[in-house]
Amino acid sequence: MTVYDKNKVSFVRSEMVGESPPPLSEVGFVGWIRKNLFSSVSNSILTIVGFYLAYQIIYVLVNFSFIDAVWSGEDGTACRAPQAPGDGACWPFVGAYFDQFIYGRYTIAERWRVDLVYLIGAIGIAWLVIERAPKRPLVAVLMLTAFPLISFILLTGGNFDYSSNFLWTSLIVAAVILVAAFAIPTMTKSNPWPTMITVAVVLLILAGVLLLLSIDFGLPEVETSLWGGLLVTLVIAITGIVFSLPVGVILALGRQSNMPIVRIICVIFIEFWRGVPLITVLFMASVMLPLFMPKGIHVDNLLRAMIGVAFFASAYMAEVVRGGLQALPKGQYEGAQALGLSYWKMMGLIILPQALTLVIPAIVSTFIGLFKDTTLVSIVGLFDLLGQMASSLSDPKWSSPMTPHTGYLFVGAVFWIFCFAMSRYSVYMERKLDTGHG
């Protein structure tokens, strides 16, 4: 047997062959296409159908809103004209009615007030969204307290008169309840002063707010029947959001409470609102609420819708919060109790922060639902963005076959931008707050 010296024999490889590159059809653009679009016959058919669908949709949309669109005109003549490029959008219609879509019939000379509210709101929300901005908790508190108050005064004009008896009775009842709610815990404390001071401060703030609302700032009153368009949409949506979160939390806590009567009342309240369609709630608010009020008290249309929407949203929010409360491990409750925290401290410091964080996506989707649902107020005679646009369609000056399409496209785009932004933000928050163990 001959032993070969591998260094001397020319046909034996002394090192490994390097990896050859993958075939061209498997990498890069071609590979991607083969893998994701044409991996099998059925997949190829699906791909062709998919591209055809996408092409059709984009083609129709681009043609309608740009290529065939009418861009200028004093009235609908250009859009009606047979020589118009075809089935294109009638953009001058949106231009002519733009102010109405934003402000409704709000007194023109006073529209700067609406602008100011929009501006403050936009700055506040941007501040809260940008993470590097300083003092975000303070801004959050201001946005939930001062902003609604300022907006209220700016939009309505303030200068309220409190001559009605009903208002006073309600206020006194509210004050008595507040004092009673704090009186019982106060009795049990060795040092009652801090609680008493809190109560006094709350009462003072309430009185201050009432006083502020009655001051004449020289702003002329703008009746809510003149409000419309995006203004009404945002006012109803934001009051709904601001109202529903705290009330929803309280209802959810009530539903989990050990006190049987509290629990039953909360369950009935939640299930009632969740079981009926919003439109019947709005009908109820608009035809029954006036019957509930004592004679001489007039609840204006906008306020009725706001009350309906707020209650409705609170019930949904309560269920969302309950989901968060139930998802927390029992050890969190037990740990808090073992530390000797009182019920409210346990909830406020340990349970709610975690529970609410868990359900942020669900909270935001409730907000999105609420925002979309504000369109329903147009059925009970208010003019939100959709209602305002729909009512302007009946203007014969602008009537043309494509005017409705244009209007719906515009309103749809506005709603879509708001809702999509909210949903993206919630996805972002979810990723950010995900601690990885859950």
Partner: protein, 404 residues
């Protein structure tokens, strides 16, 4: 430690009564009840005073009076001379009709889109995603308006039609289809259908038993399908073809005003129905698609891998391992979407499809019986919601994982 503990117990015994959690909790509850009682009492007082001032009599007597308005789409007999109660019944049936059809089609479309969203095919997944993101983020009312005031306006006019296979016709007055006419002996066909369903039930039991005993499989699905199709078909011919079709009558000639579809011929769906149906189905399907996606993604990959490792075929893995587990995640939110669809069908009032809310609204305007009508609405919708959630709770219990 133990001594201190004992002392602590002693302390508790001497605690002031207002520090006793039980006393406190009852005190809070009594205050709450008193407050709510006061609110309800004052509302009652106000309502009766207001009604008296407006001269509105309360009570349900109005349900028996003649309605005097016509309803375009009715499933059962109704004329202007019928009572308000009858009108509400028509409305309720119309609500059920749209909800029933809507649920079926939304489920089908939703499952298709949900699965497409997870497709490995890039363009299919993207189209599904765009569909979901667009439709979910637009108000339903806007979509209903769009379908009704914009999309359906493109249909052929009253005097023209677009036909599919010359049996289904579409124009601006709605969708016209042939209506079945049940002649003498058609009950035999009905009995045959019931017999086929009964037969399938027993067949399944028998096949399952046989498989457990002998390990042999029987093609249950195909047999069932054949049974369901051929048994009624045989009965149909045996009874002498008792069920016929009444085609809608369309006149193309004659005076202009007579052209178009004749009234009350064939089966007709109003444009309001079509618009509401399309809007509800496409809207709800987007939500169902997300639910389906979440459900499928919730099934761990290891489950299907384990099943494959045991030698179970792809088809059976899907049917026996993946789908049952995905369904546990899918069904509860799916049913709440069904409930949402039913409640959303009340938006019909915006385009005057005569559902419960629209008919009730008309009656409310005519009679001013606000409290009664709103109460009726609430009671009916609450009944629907609560019964559906009862079914859901029952289902949840039946499929809940049995803890170890």
């Amino acid at each position: 430690m133990s001594i201190q503990d004992a002392g602590h117990v002693d302390d508790q015994a001497k605690v002031a009564f207002f520090n006793d959690p039980k006393v406190r909790s009852w005190a809070y509850q009594i205050i709450l009840v008193l407050f709510l009682g006061w609110v309800i009492w004052s509302i009652r007082e106000n309502v009766s005073a207001n009604l008296e001032a407006q001269n509105i009599a309360t009570g349900w007597g109005f349900l028996g009076t003649t309605a005097g308005f016509s309803i375009l789409q009715k499933l059962v007999f109704y004329t202007e001379a019928s009572s308000y109660g009858r009108a509400l019944w028509i409305g309720l049936l119309n609500t059920f009709l749209i909800a029933f059809l809507g649920v079926i089609f939304a489920t089908i479309l939703g499952f298709i889109i949900g699965i497409a969203r997870l497709s490995s095919n890039w363009i299919v997944a993207k189209v599904a995603m765009v569909y979901i993101e667009v439709v979910r983020n637009l108000p339903l009312l806007l979509q209903i308006f769009f379908w009704y005031f914009a999309a359906l306006r493109a249909l052929p006019g009253k005097r023209e039609k677009a036909s599919f296979l010359d049996t289904i016709h579409l124009n601006i007055t709605g969708l016209k289809m042939p209506a079945p006419v049940f002649g003498e002996g058609s009950s035999i066909v009905g009995i045959a259908v019931l017999a086929a369903i009964g037969g399938i039930f027993f067949l399944r039991r028998w096949a399952k038993k046989r498989q457990e005993e002998k390990g042999e499989q029987f093609p249950v699905f195909l047999t069932s399908l054949g049974l369901l199709f051929f048994l009624p078909l045989i009965a149909f011919f045996a009874a002498g073809q008792p069920i016929g079709l009444e085609h809608p009558v369309f006149s193309e000639t004659g005076p202009m005003i007579r052209r178009g579809f004749a009234l009350n011929t064939g089966l007709s769906l109003s444009p309001e129905f079509i618009a509401l149906f399309l809007a509800l189905v496409t809207y709800t399907a987007a939500f169902i698609a997300e639910i389906v996606r979440a459900g499928i993604m919730a099934v761990d990959k290891g489950q299907s891998e384990a099943s494959h490792a045991l030698g179970v075929s792809n088809n059976f893995t899907l049917r026996l391992v993946v789908i049952p587990q995905a369904m546990r995640v899918i069904v509860p939110p799916l049913i709440s979407q069904y409930l949402n669809l039913t409640k959303n069908s009340s938006l019909a009032v915006a385009i005057a499809y005569p559902d419960l809310v629209a008919v009730g609204g008309t009656i409310l305007n005519q009679t001013g019986q606000a409290i009664e009508i709103v109460t009726l609405w609430m009671v009916i919708y609450l009944t629907i919601s609560l019964s559906i959630s009862m079914v859901m709770n029952w289902y949840n219990r039946s499929i809940a994982l049995v803890g170890r």
